[in-house]
Symmetry: C2
Subunit: 258 residues, 2 copies
DNA sequence: CAGTGGTCTAGACCACTCT
DNA sequence: GAGTGGTCTAGACCACTGT
């Protein structure tokens, strides 16, 4: 080997550490092309397999992408899309003193809707407190921005309460599904929100066209009537490379301490 | 090869798809031991390298862990720790109708604190609107639960306003850093919150002892005085396998639509 | 066509743990 | 010592793209 094993770690760790450092300090800037596998093989005096193992680490960290057969490139930084979700915005949002989130004002929005009657997953069954065998209406949507998939929004309703309503039509609902539910006598007065952070499933990778190393935020919102009956579960999948969840607050809950 | 290449995908894709399916449908339940690499090598009629590539996919999806030299195991599902952050809880939390988040009531809590005067990162400089060369006081904390690192909470203050205050002491601040700031004439009246979802840096992996395939939530809270002067940046790193962010709401912002 | 990365083979040696 | 996974070598063939 041309290079001796200095410091700790395996060869692939050393190589990926080197490249990560170059990305961090700007030697390799966003969009820049990395050396080819052959060049790295020569440079470090290891075999191609070892070089590929090092690059794979960086791919899985979301730092680089492989654009076959052109080469590896430093991944562009998050587009800094600003998308305040209502649930993350307890107070009206006012755009001041936050120059860092003023990008992406308005762009072409679009969505695909797919409505079906399905057996609910355990996740949905539990939150809707369904009996065994009870079916739900599923409204699955892929929201697009400028033609690219942007997030997923799947809502589930007990079939028993939305049967034959506008919720079952595979169109946009101008007044909003919540108003339809309210007209049916199930106005939502409370909601419980949960946010998970995890790696995507292959299905989510496909629907959102995710690159390797892209984690997601998994947001589950369960809506309840005043009587405490759950009537709706909405699951939003937010790709980490396309979303910044942001909101402003005024006092009263002085935040993270410390 | 003993197994023919049915359907799509490479051998490693087929193998990881098979195993992922078995994990999803419960054939392999949480904590179960996977077949050894040698067994999978025989079973699929490929070389060990191919089997390892398949397992690596599942590791990076956070589905399995490798416990050398014992074997690979299905990763335990998130401990479902419930930690409402103040900023995600616009209304007081009431524990009702949510049996799915009642675990982990009270456990041993602990934290390490490390205070220093540092040159701020670009991220902090921008949010604190600092001049070039201006220094900050950094309070870096690792919070532990039952002896395990649970999350990171790093706060940054302009050196010019907290010099010689209790904020610079590497102890817990009983009344809270925010009260100290207020006593210094910098009471925070507004805050901007941002939440990013991404893979961890090696430093975050080390501080939080993260397993491969564990993404993080990266929460930045910038606090402002009434006059609009930023006085504090708090960065919280929440490991995806240890956190569920959860809160309850009542009406007024009827959520995710759809 | 040459050059890129994607996949796979068939070995090898190592560190570690358990028996 | 046997068995596990971690790392690495030294090849091979393929699909795709650009010249």
């Amino acid at each position: 080997m041309a290079v001796k094993k200095v410091g700790r770690g395996s060869f692939k760790q050393q190589i990926s550490d080197d490249l990560r450092q170059q990305i961090a300090d700007g030697t390799l800037e966003a969009g820049a092309k990395l050396p080819t596998e052959a060049q790295l093989t020569d440079q470090y005096g290891v075999t191609r397999g070892t070089v590929r193992a090092a690059l794979e680490i960086l791919v899985n960290e979301g730092l680089i992408i492989s654009a076959r057969p052109v080469g590896h490139f430093v991944r562009d930084r998050k587009p800094m899309i600003f998308r305040p979700q209502a649930e993350f915005r307890p107070r009206p949002y006012t755009p001041e003193m936050d120059a860092f989130m003023t990008e992406n004002a308005s762009r072409d929005a679009d969505q695909d809707i797919e409505v079906s009657i399905v057996e609910p997953t355990a996740e949905v069954t539990k939150r809707l407190q369904l009996d065994a065998g009870e079916l739900v209406v599923s409204r699955r949507r892929v929201r697009h921005l400028d033609g690219e998939p942007f997030n997923l929004n799947d809502s589930f309703y007990p079939l028993s309460i939305v049967q034959d309503s506008a919720i079952m039509r595979p169109d946009n609902i101008p007044e909003g599904a919540n108003e339809v539910l309210a007209a049916l006598g199930y106005r939502q007065e409370r909601a419980i929100d949960e946010l998970y952070v995890r790696m995507p499933t292959p299905d989510e990778v496909r629907r959102l066209e995710l690159l390797p190393g892209t984690p997601i935020g998994y947001h589950i919102c369960t809506g309840y009537t005043e009587a405490g009956k759950p009537v709706r579960v909405a699951i939003t999948v937010l790709p980490g490379d396309r979303h910044v969840i942001s909101y402003e607050r005024r006092r009263e809950a002085p935040s993270d301490e410390a």
